[in-house]
């Protein structure tokens, strides 16, 4: 199945957006406004969906006219594109969306045609699957890990570099003892924040060195 590469699932959803009669703020604009305010770091709803690597939401207004002699044509609906790369299976992921990020899902998909809400989880899963389009070709450079194992690896890499630096020139017996403590501490310490910390949004000239 082209939606899957190793342990990674590539989900693509096209949800048609409601087009009302003229209103103050149309649904696509309301949706864009909401998305522009949504945190993109560890406070993101996707940070709660712990199996998400990368995800995006895009309002697609229309198809593209590439110039003559190609034919010019237009969509009759706008579509919300939801593209997500996560580890695990689709049903579990959608179920977690409906339960763990309920408010976010309601705020986004309330603008879409046929959205049944999150009260009935099975109905929500069915709705999302009706909107799903099959991936034709999916490439995942690293596809044998989970989000948790990848974040642990990144934490271990940084910690080991610092530890090695501090142990330079010490007697072997000291390093051996320190290593046992270091490794135990590493295994028990909390993981990296999913989505990064808000502090990364500070201006470049004011950022502390790593």
């Amino acid at each position: 199945m082209a939606n899957v590469s190793g342990k990674v699932y590539g989900l693509t959803i096209l949800s048609p957006i409601i087009q009302d009669d003229p209103v103050d703020i149309c649904h696509s604009m309301g949706l864009r406004w909401y998305l522009s305010q949504l945190p993109r770091d560890c406070r993101s709803p996707f940070a709660q969906l712990s199996s998400t690597y990368l995800a995006r939401l895009v309002v697609m207004d229309d198809v593209v006219f590439v110039g003559h002699p190609a034919r010019e044509e237009h969509l009759k609906s706008r579509y919300l594109i939801f593209e997500s790369n996560f580890d695990g299976d689709l049903d579990t992921y959608l179920r977690r969306m409906a339960t763990e990020t309920k408010d976010f899902v309601e705020a986004v998909w309330q603008h879409c045609i046929g959205f049944p809400g999150t009260g009935d989880i099975e109905a929500f899963i069915t709705y999302m699957k009706r909107c799903q389009v099959e991936t034709t070709f999916f490439f995942a450079d690293v596809n044998d890990q989970t989000v948790e194992s990848t974040l642990y690896a990144l934490k271990a890499q940084a910690a080991l570099a610092r530890f090695m630096e501090k142990q330079q020139g010490r007697p072997a017996a000291d390093i051996q003892r320190n290593f046992a403590e270091f490794y135990d501490r590493l295994r028990r310490s909390p993981g990296l924040p999913r989505g990064g910390t808000p502090s990364r949004n500070i201006p470049q000239e004011k950022r502390p060195h790593d």
Binding site: T12, L14, S36, R40, T150, A172, Q176, G195, D210
Partner: protein, 198 residues
Amino acid sequence: MTNINGKAYAMNAITPMKPWKTPILRLFFFILGVVRPLQKDLKNLSLIHFARWVSVGRNAFPRLSLEQPREELEYDYLLFFSNFNGTWNQYIDAFSDVLYTGLDAIWHWSEKYPGSRPVTDFKRYITLVQFDTDYYYNVYPQAATNDVKAAIRVEQALSSFARSSQGMTPEEFAKAWVELQAEVCPDLGSTGLAPEGT
């Protein structure tokens, strides 16, 4: 517009295709998926976390109610979504320099595709068919694809060392410690914030 989150760039593109060409493209993708060595250049380029092509038939756009107007399209559409590291120009240049054969085999079937070389026309075409991202989430904004791969190698070496070094004498440990440092040294570059303005 939020195409960038940390070190990752979210690219979206859509190109029209005559419907009779779609099965040919699907066959090409099928072969690309089955014959893994054909993905070697994509893998070696090592700047793409995840990428996908989605072929949507002219009658396959989801229609969820009778009130929703039925699409009346003559073209099928090829959607492309990529999560890559670096700047847009670096990415397109890398496509044109390294992956031109494969990319031309994919987009050759799209209307008015000019080919990936020379890169000027290629960039003009991508600019035309690209559309912006409204929300982009990245679980590890501080890490590029190469950082992830390096971290996994380091973690595997570290856990192996932690197991094998138990019960060693200080002399044996010292020798194994030096070997571990030599093994992981190339992969210990620190991750961090991406430069701004990319």
